[in-house]
C-alpha cells in the first residue's frame, strides 16, 4: 500500500525505443508528493516521451513506473483509473473546439466521473476564476488567445481533481507576452501543493519554482538536483554546454 512518505511517481530504469531508435535509455526518478519537478534538455532528448509514459499515453519496453504505488504499465491496469489521478496539459492546448470553455471543463467530470452537473458547474466556474478567466465561460476555444486556451486546458485537467499534473511544454506554442499568465497559473498551483511535473524550456521559471531539475540528453538523465545547483554550478559538460547556449 502506498503512503505519502513514499514517492508519488517512481521510475526505475525505464527504457523505450521506436524501432531502432532508443528514446529512453534507462531513466530513474523519484518524485515526492507536492514536489515541483522540471525536466529540461535539448530537443529530441526524450523529455516529452518521458512525461507521456507517466499517464500511459506512451508505453515502455523495460523498467517500471509507479504512480501512488500502482504500476502504470501493468497490462491488467485500467488506464482510465490511473488517468483520473494524473492530469495532463499539452503544448497545443487540445481543447475541444466544439465546446465552450465551461463545457470543456465540465465534460470529463460529468461524463467520466458521472458527478452531478450542478456540482460540476460550480467547480468549473470556480476553476475558471482561479485561472483568471471569469467571463469567458461561454467563449469557444477559437475565440480565445493561446494563453487563455492553455489556462482553460489547465482548468479542464484540474476539474478531474488529479493528484499529479503533467505539463508538456505548455508555453512553447505561446506568444512571449502570454507565457507569463500561464506560468503564473502553474506557480499558484505549485504553491497550493499540487505535484507538478513539467517539461519546459522556461529556465527562469524552473529556477524560481522547481524543487528539483532533471537535465536529460539523448534518453538519459545527465544531471539532477536543486535548481540553484544545476543552474549556477552544473557539473556535467553537457549540462554546461546546454545552459550556456540558452541562458
Amino acid at each position: 500500500m502506498w503512503s505519502p512518505t513514499q514517492p508519488i511517481v517512481a521510475m526505475k530504469d525505464v527504457k523505450k525505443s521506436y524501432g531502432d531508435f532508443d528514446v529512453l535509455k534507462g531513466i530513474s526518478m523519484d518524485i515526492m508528493k507536492g514536489e515541483v519537478v522540471c525536466i529540461i534538455g535539448p530537443s529530441g532528448s526524450g523529455k516529452s516521451t518521458l512525461i507521456r509514459c507517466i499517464n500511459a499515453l506512451n508505453d515502455i519496453q523495460h523498467g517500471s513506473i509507479t504512480v501512488e504505488g500502482q504500476e502504470v504499465h501493468d497490462p491488467g491496469l485500467d488506464k482510465r483509473i490511473l488517468r483520473r489521478k494524473v492530469g495532463m496539459v499539452f503544448q497545443q492546448y487540445n481543447l475541444f473546439p466544439h465546446k465552450t470553455a465551461l463545457q470543456n471543463i465540465m465534460m470529463a467530470p460529468v461524463k467520466v466521473l458521472k458527478e452531478p452537473r450542478a456540482e460540476v458547474e460550480e467547480r468549473a466556474r470556480a476553476l475558471l476564476k482561479k485561472v483568471r478567466l471569469e467571463g469567458k465561460e461561454n467563449s469557444y476555444p477559437g475565440e480565445l488567445s493561446g494563453g487563455q486556451q492553455q489556462r482553460v486546458a489547465i482548468a479542464r485537467s484540474l476539474a478531474m481533481r488529479p493528484d499529479i499534473m503533467l505539463f508538456d511544454e505548455v508555453t512553447a506554442a505561446l506568444d512571449p507576452e502570454t507565457v507569463k499568465e500561464v506560468l503564473v497559473t502553474i506557480k499558484e498551483l505549485a504553491a497550493d501543493g499540487m505535484t507538478c511535473i513539467l517539461v519546459t524550456h522556461e529556465m527562469g521559471f524552473a529556477k524560481e519554482v522547481a524543487d528539483k531539475v532533471y537535465f536529460t540528453d539523448r534518453g538519459l538523465i545527465v544531471e539532477e538536483g536543486h535548481p540553484s545547483e544545476i543552474f549556477t554550478n552544473p557539473k556535467d559538460p553537457r549540462t554546461k554546454a546546454f545552459l550556456s547556449q540558452i541562458l
Binding site: R80, R83, F90, F96, A108, K111, V112, R156
Partner: protein, 277 residues
C-alpha cells in the same frame, strides 16, 4: 516515379466532381438546351410540337405524383438505410481490431466497385418475393428490394466519408480525451464525431444526389417508378417515336430540377465549411 506524383496526389473523386459539374451549370445553358431539343426532335415528325406537348400535359400529373415522387421515396429510404449502415461500417474501418477492419475494408471495396445495376439484380434474385412469418405471408415487393439494393453501394461510400471525416480530426483530440479518462466510445461520439459531422454533410448530400439520379435503374426490376410509367404512358398513346423526346425530356427536367438545387447547396456548404475549419 516523379512523373506519377501529380496523379497520386490527385484527391479521391468519390463522384464529387459530378455534383460540382452539375452545380456549375448556368441557368441560361439550361434555357438554351430546352429551346434546342424540341426543334431538333420535331424537324421531320408527323406529330406537331403542340400535339406532343398536349399529350405530355395530360400525363404530367400522373407521372409526377405516381412516378417521380416514388423515385424520391426510394431515394430517401435508400439514403436512410445506406447512411445508417454506412456509419456502422465506417466505424469498423477505424476499429482497433484488425479482423473487423479487414471485414469492413473488404465489404466497402466490394460494394464501391460493383455496378449498381448488378447489385440491384443480385438483391432482387437473392430474396424471395414473400416471407412467411408465424404462418403469415408477408409480401416482399420489388421496390423494397430496390431500396436495399441501392443502399448497399451508398453505405459503402458513406463508410468512406465517415472514416475520412473521423481521420481528419487531429489525433491530439484523441490524446486529450484519453488523458481525461474518456472511453474510446465516449471520445468518438462526444468529441470526435460532433467535430466532423459538418465535414460529412457536403459529401453526404453529394451521394444523395447521385443516388437519386440512379433510381431510374429500378425500372429494370419492374418497379413502377418514373421511367417505367413514362414508358407505359407512351405505349398507351400509341408508341409514336415523336413522343420519345418530350416524355424523356420531361423526366430529365424533373430530375434536374430536383438534383440541381441539392448540387448547388452542396457546393455552397462545402465552401462554407472549408473556410470555417
Amino acid at each position: 516515379m516523379a512523373v506519377l506524383l501529380p496523379l497520386r496526389a490527385a484527391p479521391q473523386m468519390d463522384g464529387f466532381s459530378l455534383t460540382s459539374w452539375l452545380a456549375n451549370i448556368k441557368w441560361w445553358q439550361i434555357g438554351l438546351l430546352l429551346l434546342i431539343w424540341p426543334v431538333h426532335a420535331f424537324a421531320q415528325g408527323a406529330v406537331t410540337v403542340n400535339d406532343a406537348l398536349a399529350v405530355l400535359y395530360k400525363w404530367a400529373p400522373f407521372l409526377v405524383l405516381n412516378g417521380f415522387l416514388f423515385n424520391v421515396l426510394i431515394s430517401v429510404l435508400s439514403m436512410a438505410l445506406g447512411t445508417g449502415l454506412g456509419v456502422l461500417v465506417g466505424l469498423t474501418l477505424i476499429s482497433k481490431w484488425y479482423a473487423l477492419r479487414l471485414i469492413g475494408n473488404t465489404g466497402t471495396a466490394f460494394f464501391r466497385n460493383a455496378p449498381w445495376l448488378v447489385l440491384l439484380f443480385v438483391v432482387l434474385l437473392a430474396f424471395p418475393f414473400e416471407f412467411t412469418i408465424f404462418g403469415m405471408r408477408v409480401p416482399f415487393p420489388g421496390w423494397i428490394k430496390a431500396v436495399i439494393g441501392l443502399s448497399l453501394p451508398v453505405a459503402a461510400n458513406i463508410a468512406i466519408v465517415v472514416r475520412g471525416a473521423i481521420q481528419s480530426v487531429p489525433s491530439a483530440q484523441w490524446e486529450a480525451a484519453e488523458s481525461l479518462s474518456f472511453t474510446r466510445i465516449q471520445t468518438l461520439w462526444q468529441i470526435i464525431i460532433p467535430q466532423c459531422i459538418k465535414r460529412m454533410i457536403p459529401p453526404w448530400m453529394n451521394w444523395y444526389a447521385i443516388l437519386t439520379m440512379a433510381t431510374p435503374l429500378c425500372s429494370i426490376l419492374g418497379t413502377e417508378e418514373m421511367v417505367t410509367l413514362t414508358r407505359q404512358a407512351m405505349e398507351a398513346e400509341g408508341n409514336k417515336p415523336e413522343f420519345l423526346m418530350p416524355f424523356y425530356g420531361f423526366v430529365l427536367v424533373l430530375f434536374f430540377l430536383y438534383c440541381y438545387p441539392i448540387a448547388k447547396l452542396t457546393v455552397r456548404l462545402e465552401r462554407k465549411f472549408a473556410v470555417k475549419l
